[in-house]
Amino acid sequence: MWTNKVFMKRTFLLIALVALLVAPMPASAQGKLNVMATTEDLASIGREIGGDRISIDAIARGYQDPHFVEAKPSFILKLQRADLLIVVGRELEIGWLPPLITQSRNGKIQPGAEGYLDASLQAQILEIPSGQITRAMGDVHPLGNPHYWLDPENGKRIAKQIADKLSQLHPNDRAFFQQQLAAFSKKLDEAEKRWLAAMAPYKGMKMVTYHRSFPNFADRFGLDIVGYVEPRPGIPPTPQHTLDLINEMKRQNVKLVLVEPYFDLKTPNAIGRETGAKVLVMPPSVGGVKEVTDYFKLFDYDINLLVNAIKSIGTN
């Protein structure tokens, strides 16, 4: 009797296992490349290049801290169907992307595979640490600052990498992707001239940011970041550091504090009250605020915000 029971149990398990193994896997959309990007910025550039030949989606939303994204199983489903995964790299996604990739069961997008694209490889990277680095410096990125997309020149480099990768994966559409790249680069060149002209009168403007999200932006548009609300990357503000920062801002007459949308405004507002500086919530990513729906609008919004703030400071 007992043997029969065990036999039945094992037979049931075997049937269940076979049923699982033969269940069909989801097929990717015919003809279109299925692209996943880790951030909305990369997805926006990818959309410009891929046009209607690809479908593209992002994992992290523009209004959330890209360092701390939850590795939700729903992302595994998206990655499972991806032909191409575009990542920011420079260890921005180190806290959440590796387990998602491993569990995706998708050999195409594993690091080093044809469908894995690190968008930082051709970009201009700032703040690459030299010499000994330790965690005493906070959550430093040993491969450089990963917020490099906030420079339109890097936008073009990212776009070129995406166009080349899409051409490699879909050689039949190579001409289309290269044409899209040329159009995107031209449009970005024209926009960049406009943005540079708008910012030109404010070259050398001193400011403070919450996190080190804007070095490439500041470098391109001639801004001078003199300090950070965080005492170290990833470490919340401390009273002593805040006091030091206030004194430094007073000494250098800094009148702007830029805060990413996902950080608390309590400390920046206190700094603003003490120093008379204006606190701006400035999105570093597409989707950071409702109006910023693509890569061009990100710079339109940020530059418009900055120019208006600087003018109001001047007026005051």
Partner: protein, 470 residues
């Protein structure tokens, strides 16, 4: 005579004609020589320049992690020496130059000559240093535990050991993780206790198998429920719930060598994953083993079905059903398994998570519960035990978490008695890499006495940045 005169005249004429040509040829030869010399100099200069650039490039490539191309144009990094900018940043060039110089060394004075080397020698360590990029990501997580208060039933507040251990460097977990090849990755977690070393997990994951299978081979924590699969450092408490200790082997849990195969079940509604595992059949602590083998065929089986669904972009629900079966030690007499008894476990787990994306680093809530039923065959009778825990953890600031937990569990080998417990927990993260926790735990044991304890925990990690738990 006429012939001689003619010959002489011809020679003179030839000489006269040849003289200016020889001078011109000499001028030409000097010019060519000068051009050759110039070309030589230019070539040498080019050779020197390209040699230098090649050396710098080789040094730069050697310094890069595998699979990465060098970024093309690196501009000088902004190195503002302010209190806010303590990280030393610089252009890559100085680092490259240093690396390039590290590639050769001068022959020591006095060692030259007599057929020995002269000038510069290659330093082979430079190439070896480049090969270090293939080393796995390494980290060590320290877990220091302490307890105050009284517990007459469990002298060791964190295990079934009878040795009173109010302060303990409970665990130092070393992890080594890397990609094996294009088809697999490997993860090792070695647990160093105060008295011994244990391979907590060591497995290879095949990431690219056809049919959407995720396969693991090695020693691993079984996919039974939630708590069993979690390492100590990602638990939201300093200890493990009573149901885990009484029914699922406690901290050791179901952690065994074997195979694991997981597959996503395609459906239009939710994330659904089925996992099947076969292990050798040895799990649980020596003081109270859960599964033990007496024969080669005494393998244990684990099955887990997980369903996950996003409710909104800020909240989600995670449900699971688990099954485990293996041989127990109830029938072992004088080292011989006469009873051939088995233990079967059934578990249900549910997790609700809430984390508003716009303030995800400041606020979150996780509610967890597991109910586990144990069916343990013994000589006297089949023991049908049950236990559960319910817990809630709320993050009320960027670095602060508060939680409560309610426990109840029968004993696996004597299901008529049960233990009850309640805990409140406060956790502080000075940074992502360290954590301080305090936990007040009240336990009413089946034997009668009540234990009131204050547990505290210090955790700290060094090395590679690991993935955040989900």
């Amino acid at each position: 005579m006429r012939i001689s005169r003619l010959f002489c005249a011809s020679l003179v004429a030839l000489g006269a004609l040849a003289a200016p040509r020889t001078a011109a040829a000499q001028d030409n030869a000097q010019g060519v020589q000068a051009q050759i010399d110039q070309l030589k100099r230019e070539f040498e200069a080019l050779k020197q320049e390209y040699g230098d650039r090649l050396s710098a490039l080789e040094a730069r490539l050697a310094a890069l992690p595998p699979g990465q191309n060098p970024p093309p144009a690196q501009t000088p990094a902004v190195a503002t020496p302010t209190p806010n900018n303590p990280t030393p940043v610089a252009t890559p060039e100085p680092a490259q130059t240093a690396a390039g110089q590290a590639g050769t060394a001068q022959v020591p004075p006095g060692a030259e000559g007599a057929g020995g080397p002269a000038g510069q020698l290659p330093v082979y360590g430079a190439a070896v240093a480049g090969s270090k990029v293939f080393n796995p990501d390494m980290a060590v997580i320290g877990d220091f535990l302490g307890a105050a208060g009284s517990n007459p039933v469990r002298p060791d507040p964190f295990s079934l050991s009878n040795h009173p251990s109010p302060l303990q460097m409970h665990e130092s977990e070393a992890s080594f993780q890397a990609v094996v090849d294009p088809y697999a990755r490997a993860d090792f977690f070695i647990s160093f206790g105060e008295e011994g070393v244990d391979l907590e997990e060591g497995y290879m994951t095949l990431t690219s198998l056809p049919g959407g299978l995720l396969t693991r081979v090695g020693k691993m924590r079984a996919a039974f429920g939630k708590v069993n699969s979690l390492h100590n450092h990602v638990l939201p408490w300093a200890d493990r719930p009573l149901v885990s200790t009484n029914l699922v082997g406690g901290e050791d849990g179901i952690d065994d060598a074997g195979f694991s195969v997981a597959r996503l079940i395609p459906n239009p509604w939710l994330f659904l994953e089925a996992t099947g595992q076969v292990f050798r059949g040895d799990s649980g602590p020596d003081e109270s083993p859960l599964f033990r083998t007496a024969r080669r065929s005494d393998v244990s089986y684990i099955g887990h079905l997980r369903g996950y669904q996003d409710i909104t972009e800020d909240s989600n629900i995670d449900l699971g059903f688990s099954y485990a079966r293996g041989h127990n030690t109830a029938g072992v007499i004088d080292g011989v398994d006469l009873g051939r008894f088995t233990t079967s476990l059934y578990g249900l787990d549910a997790t609700f998570r809430w984390r508003p994306l716009r303030r995800s680093i400041y606020h979150s809530f996780i509610g967890r519960s597991e109910i586990i039923w144990s069916r343990r065959e013994q000589f006297d009778a089949l023991q049908r035990a049950m236990g559960f825990y319910v817990s809630g953890d709320y993050q009320f600031a960027r670095r602060w978490f508060a939680g409560v937990r309610i426990d109840r569990s029968d004993r696996a080998d004597n299901a008529v008695v049960h233990d009850n417990g309640q805990s409140i927990v406060l956790t502080y993260w000075p940074s992502e890499f360290s954590q301080v926790r305090g936990q007040y735990r009240r336990t009413v044991y089946a034997e009668g006495p009540e234990a009131n304890e204050l547990l505290f925990q210090f955790q700290f990690s060094i090395g590679a940045h690991g993935a955040h738990p989900f």
